[in-house]
Structures are given as C-alpha cells and as structure tokens.
Amino acid sequence: MSKLLIEGVSRTFAGVRGGVPVQALQPVELSVSANDFITILGPSGCGKSTLLRIVAGLEAPSTGRVLLDGKAVTRPGPDRGMVFQSYTLFPWLTVAENIGFGLREQGRPERERNEVVASYIDLVGLKGFENHWPKQLSGGMQQRTAIARALANDPAILLLDEPFGALDNQTRGLMQELLLGIWERRKKTVLFVTHDIEEAIFMASRVIVMSARPGRIKSDVPVDLPHPRHYTLKTSPEFSALKAQLTEDIRIEAMRTAQTQSA
C-alpha cells in the first residue's frame, strides 16, 4: 500500500481583478511508497510548490484529494513536517526551543521534549548552539535547525520546498549529504521540491519531472544509484547519464515557460 496518494489534484487560482482564472496545476496522480525519497523537479512557476503546499494542507486543491496513510488531508498537521525555502525559525525562540516547538504544541511533557530535542540537535550537528537565537546562525545552520524542528515531531512524511535554494553552492552540497545521511539511517518518506537537477538526482530514489505551467507530471524517473551516496557520485558516468536525460527534459519545459511569458 502506498504511503501517500495524490488523486487528481489540480489547482486553479481565481483571476486577478476579474481576469481569467489561472490554472497552476493540471490534475496530478502520484503514489509514494513508504520510505521513498521523491524529488519533484520542474522549472520555476510550474506549480511544484503548490503541489507540496496542498500535501501539507496549507492550500486546498481545486479538484482531487490527498491521502496520507489512507486518511484525507484537510488541513496542516504534525504528521506532515515541512521545511520552507525562506528561513522560518521563530526568531524569539532559541535553537533548542525551535526544535521543541511542535512537541510543546502537542502538550508533550518537558522531560520528554528535552530528550528528543537533544537527540535532534546531535543529528543535525548543532551541539553547542542550543541556546543561540536564529539571527546568530548562518543560513545553513538555520535550515539544519528547521529540518530538526520538522523531524522532531516524527512526521509520517517530510515535505521540503527548495530548502537549500537560498544557500551558497558549497553549503548546499553539505546540506544535501547531511539530509541524505539522516534519511539513510532513519528511513522516512520524503517529498523534496527543487529546480536543481543535480540535487534532484543526488537525493532521490525517484525523480518526478514536472512540465511548464500549468504543471503536470511529465516523467517519473527511478534513480537506482547505490546508498550510502557520497558527493563523488555526482561525477560518476551513471549520474551524468541521468543528468543529461533530465537536463533535456527540463530544458524543453523551461523554454516553454519562457515562451508563454514573452507571448
């Protein structure tokens, strides 16, 4: 049985000032198995973030429905942890308090909270920064905290919306390895949105390529590269072959986007 089921989910935005409604997402069908690492790859504006936000329950689909463990998604909840592209740590809470936020909202006792928080601080390598404010952290450290914060709830699925998009290249590479390392050890169902082809392949067990707006699933590419993955994998022939294939796919869509925008 699949962990996550997306059935005919589409999204149309009402027209601005009486204009024509804009379809951001054509009906999407997707089935995700437990402990799969799915990356959703697409040009900007293709509706991939919209799809993720619908799974999170932050937006309602215009048609269709999302089932997680057989239950329909109607609103956001702690079973779907989310990491955003923008830095969304609560600036008034320390690193440790941020990570413990979800547990606190669910009324878990303080002792249990502290144990869980400590283990996740360890997991993302933030020992010694427990009592720092978010503004004292680098972008990479903030996103590591955000990942720990989402994982501390032990969600059924982890949703990531271009979480490393604002980071510099070197930091992004390290963050990819960190997240993949966590996934390899702890096993988790992950939905990861990105527009970076290399990132999409490196992280995924399956890459979903989306078309230009209005988005739909264009191709579904399994990535059978062995685990644990090391950054040197990015220069291997198998990786390069996949990258060439996906680059071609995406390029066509990016050009299509550029044309509709200039039209």
Binding site: A56, G57, L58, R75, P76, G77, P78, R80, G81, M82, F84, S86, T88, F90, P91, W92, L93, F101, G102, R104, E105, Q106, W133, P134, K135, A146, R149, A150, N153, L159
Partner: protein, 258 residues
C-alpha cells in the same frame, strides 16, 4: 567632505549633537543678555535657571512634576491595558477588525483636547478627568497601530507553526503575540511621547496642579523664565522615560536586535 549616506564616527556624532545645544543656548543668551529682545517676552538663560531653582525650592514645583508624571503614566497604562488586547484581536481575527476598524479610524481623528470640556462635565476637574484626556488621546492610536502590526505577522511563520501541529489558539498565543511583542512595545514607547503633549493641554484647562498649571499660571505673571523652565523639564522627563523604555525593550527582547 559630505558624502551622501556616509556614516559618521560615534565621537564626531556626540560632538556635533552637543554643539547644536551649545549654539542654541549661546544664541538665546546673545539675544536676551545682549538686549536684542524685550526681557518681558523672553527671559535669559541665567534668570531661567534662577527662576527654576526658586520654583523647586520655594514653590515645591517638584510636587507638580510628580503629579504630572503620575497623570501621564496613569492614563497611558489605562489606555495600554484596554488597547493592546483589542489591537491584537483586530489584527488576528479579521471579523473583529471589520467590526471595529471603521470606528477606531474615525475616533482616532477626534482631538483629545476637544474632549476636555465634555470630560470636565462628566468627571469634574479632578484626577479622573486628567487621566481620561490621556486615555482618549492614546487608546485609539495604540489600537490601530497594533492592529496593523499584528495583521502584518509573517505568514511563513504562521504556516510553519501550523505544519508543526499548532492549533488556532496556539498560533495567536505562541506565534502572533511573541512575534509582535517588540513592535508592540515600540508602539507604546511612541505613544507615551504623545501622551506628554496631552497632559499639558489637560493641565492648562481646569487644573490647580501640575507642570501645565504652573506654565499657564506663569503666563499671567509674565514669568517667561518659569515657562521655559517648565517646558525644559517636560522635555527632560520625556527623554528620560524614552531612554528607560528603550532599555527595557532591549532587555525584554534581545532576540529582535539586529
């Protein structure tokens, strides 16, 4: 060389800031002591200080200062207690905003000083009337500014909290309120400054104590030195309370400092 937006060294900044005060007082001394204006209309700095000293020592002016401070803070605290929760409610819940915003926007433009005759009719010329003037002058301002700040709470923080399992109640208490606490404190600091202008107006009319009363009383005796001394005292107290408020905010919300 003056270059646009180029920062100034901290030492130079202090020197320049003090220099204007020196120039200002020097100019004042020159036109008064030099006999360029009539002494009846403007006292010189030295007689101002002399008048001030006499006020404090002989006329127990410090009692007036204390009573004015009490009025400002009393009215301001009352207004804050009422306005902060309403402002937060308006910012957080849109139906509440739709219900109250038009009225508050209207009431905000009602000049507090114009209410004084009415407030005297209702509350007499005692302390309650003075507090009410400050209250009327501050409460609508605070409500509106806080409602706008709270309404502008970062949506991504609210969304993040929802995905972490926060309830609607939890969002208000543990996201919206802490996220806006420094801004709310900053708003209160701003409005406290305005409250100082209302209190003097309240004391000019139907009052027998306070700094404003001393000023209006001095006018009838052409004691311009006392008037200027009173004005300077208000300025100094305002400055001090502003510093104290700033320091308090820094201490309460260290996370919000850049």
């Amino acid at each position: 060389m003056l270059r646009p937006l180029h920062p100034v060294a901290p030492g130079t900044r202090t020197v320049l800031g003090v220099a204007f005060f020196v120039l200002f007082v020097a100019f004042w001394a020159w036109i008064t002591l030099g006999g360029h204006v009539n002494r009846i209309f403007l006292a010189d700095p030295l007689s101002m200080l002399k008048d001030g000293w006499r006020l404090l020592v002989e006329d127990r002016f410090w009692l007036d200062i204390l009573i004015t401070i009490w009025r400002v803070f009393g009215g301001f605290v009352l207004a804050s207690i009422v306005a902060v929760p309403i402002g937060i409610a308006m910012g957080a819940w849109k139906p509440v905003e739709a219900f109250l915003e038009p009225f508050v926007s209207f009431a905000r433009y009602l000049p507090a000083s114009a209410f004084i005759p009415l407030l005297i009719l209702w509350a007499g010329i005692g302390e309650l009337e003075k507090l009410l003037v400050i209250f009327v002058g501050s409460v609508f301002q605070i409500i509106l500014i806080i409602a706008v700040k709270v309404g502008g709470t970062r949506r991504d923080l609210v969304e993040a909290a929802y995905t972490l399992g926060a309830t609607d109640n939890g969002i208000v208490k543990r996201v919206i309120m802490p996220a806006n606490a420094p801004e709310i404190a900053e708003t209160l600091r701003l409005v406290l400054g305005w409250a100082w202008t209302y209190v003097i107006v309240a004391e000019l009319i139907g009052s027998s104590s306070g700094i404003g009363y001393m000023i209006i009383n001095s006018q009838s005796r052409l004691a311009t030195g006392q008037i200027i001394f009173g004005i300077i005292v208000i300025g100094l107290i305002g400055l001090l309370s502003d510093f104290a408020f700033k320091a308090l905010n820094r201490w309460l919300y260290p996370w919000s400092l850049a």
